[in-house]
Symmetry: C2
Subunit: 420 residues, 2 copies
Amino acid sequence: MKDKNKSKNLRINLADSALSWNNIEEKKSDLVKIKQLLLSGEASFTGWVDLPESFDKEEIERIKSTAEEIRAKCDAFVVIGIGGSYLGARAAIEMLGENSTGPKIYYAGQNISAAYHLELIEEIKEKEVCICIISKSGTTTESAVAFAILKDFLIRKYGETEANRRIFAITDKDKGVIREEARRRGYVSFVVPDDIGGRYSVLSAVGLLPIAVAGIDIEMMLDGAREIAKNNSFESDIAAHYAAARILLFDIGKHIEIFESYEPRLFYFLEWLKQLFGESEGKEGKGVFPASLQFSTDLHSMGQFLQEGHQIFFETVINIENPQSDIIVPRNAGQALGGASMNDINRAAFLGVMEAHRKAGIPIITIDIPELTSYYFGQMVYFFECACAFSGYLFGVNPFDQPGVEAYKSEMLKVLGVKG
Amino acid sequence: MKDKNKSKNLRINLADSALSWNNIEEKKSDLVKIKQLLLSGEASFTGWVDLPESFDKEEIERIKSTAEEIRAKCDAFVVIGIGGSYLGARAAIEMLGENSTGPKIYYAGQNISAAYHLELIEEIKEKEVCICIISKSGTTTESAVAFAILKDFLIRKYGETEANRRIFAITDKDKGVIREEARRRGYVSFVVPDDIGGRYSVLSAVGLLPIAVAGIDIEMMLDGAREIAKNNSFESDIAAHYAAARILLFDIGKHIEIFESYEPRLFYFLEWLKQLFGESEGKEGKGVFPASLQFSTDLHSMGQFLQEGHQIFFETVINIENPQSDIIVPRNAGQALGGASMNDINRAAFLGVMEAHRKAGIPIITIDIPELTSYYFGQMVYFFECACAFSGYLFGVNPFDQPGVEAYKSEMLKVLGVKG
């Protein structure tokens, strides 16, 4: 099955985008230059570009063996992180599922809700627990608070020595409070690469350790990313085409991109996409506003707006061609639906929406994914990372910085009476 | 505590909206006319307007006693519905929590995912189960499919006679396949009112039965709604002010409203808001595009865009003034955060974001909610329903119809080969 699937790749369909190939080609010279810049390594924070190819084999082995150790040692694994230190791993784990022979994966520090963290502690208190703190600086408020609470919990439960064996850290290679603490207390630790921003880091240790703990094949994931990286000519570079389409649609007043999926398991992947594009493009008053909808659920809430509301959006549908599980609807559902398969009905909803929205003149881009495997997760991640880099540069912004994220933090620290 | 809280109400703060009271007053004559229309009962589908006042006392007692019966009889209660037959109840139950002495509440038919429904059956198969089908017509595909699957499951588990005692129906009072089946099989049933659309129905049996099964006080909820309904003069009618603000902001190019909360328990309330506004306004090429963000989580993904991206949005923050539970951060978190309370830190994030976004010139509307109780849930629902009615009419559309929702359904039925 592995080999069969590898014969197909992620594909992009622009037939319903209101754009022609000539439109896309208008952007060719810009896109070719951007590609050269990305491959040159001259731009800062482009370490993700050759990561799938250059990933240190020994580091992959160390991630895998540490994940095995964690899987053997605990039945609750708490991943502490937020933003780029959270969404990528969660997107993969929710999409692909946790292998039931390992620990259940929990998340902490992705909010500052006391109610949430009290419930989490209640849920894991009788279990064997390991935790993983993911923070480059160690100073992010949410993860620092959650780490303090969970470390305190581990020390009370196991004592200091054993707690230190149950804490794993993914942080800066040299600097910061977590690195310093990892050295002092002897945590097993991994490195957040210097030249990769949080939102582009899921295929580094940041994403791969938690993903491997969930029992997912991380080497297949890197294989998938490498496959997309092979698109070297402009004509075969679907990420460049998609980026061109986004900008061209923005230019005709389509200021919102709605990421859509018919598979609830993609919820966090869509969240990851919103960070990737929103944080990369949203600067200097620019950027496509990224939103997400889960179909068919949200057809029953936002369907009316899409069909007939203010037309300032385009749709990007992530279409899973072969969902894995299925149910045949019992005959008691009546003539229309009884005996049909749920996946066929879900697919009919997808095709029906495509047709109805096409008739309404809504631009639609479809990304076809052969199936939900770690190989295709790798393809999806690398495809969208490339597209986002292209698209940010086409907007004329730096897609790898985030100059605006400190503004509220410094105001928040003033409120807390802390020196920034 | 009940009496103390009743002395405070939901409040709206427009100080950071870029609007003055003079701006709001420009819309006064239109809003006064709309209010008269709503109170007159002349417009179709305005049954929700006097629902909190006119709700039949015997019907409330029957909802409460049926909920008690369900609570005594099962430990898994599956609510089957989608859109307006789903989001309101789920918003209340997630916001207020399930009382642990009753059944766990599950949801089905809110998507067509086979994987989702297979996991649900696996989860409940050893439990004592009751189900509730909520569908006015009985022909909504998602709920029809899920109902067929769960009915089949109940019949296999309990036999026909006992299964019929474990099925509850909320549907049209006379017509449709569910009403007909309820009569034939003797299900205990409730009515989806004729003059209330799905997105305005949470304070009818549609929402109140599942909410009561979760152990939540539905009479307090109706009390809260009645309190907001008392705002009779234009000067005290905060829903009218909010509606005016939305339209005025739209007119200056703020085409997206971002609903925001710092409390994860409000996730489904924000989803309910998106349906309420999106489906009411999104027609004739009009409407504010509704989006939602969960803070502080999404500050780490969309924070950059908000601060510096394309400024086509305004923010509506739902601020919970007194969160119930709290955690004191352990001293090991260091000088800055150790010893602080999580709620204080969360509040500092709220104040920090307000200040940073104010400085960036983003229009912000704040809705202050004293605390998370059923009384305030009732206030919130009625406040937003009124605001949405006002706002739709100000846009010049009918806020109570949804002419565009059939378009994809008829295309979908063509794909399935079913006559529409």
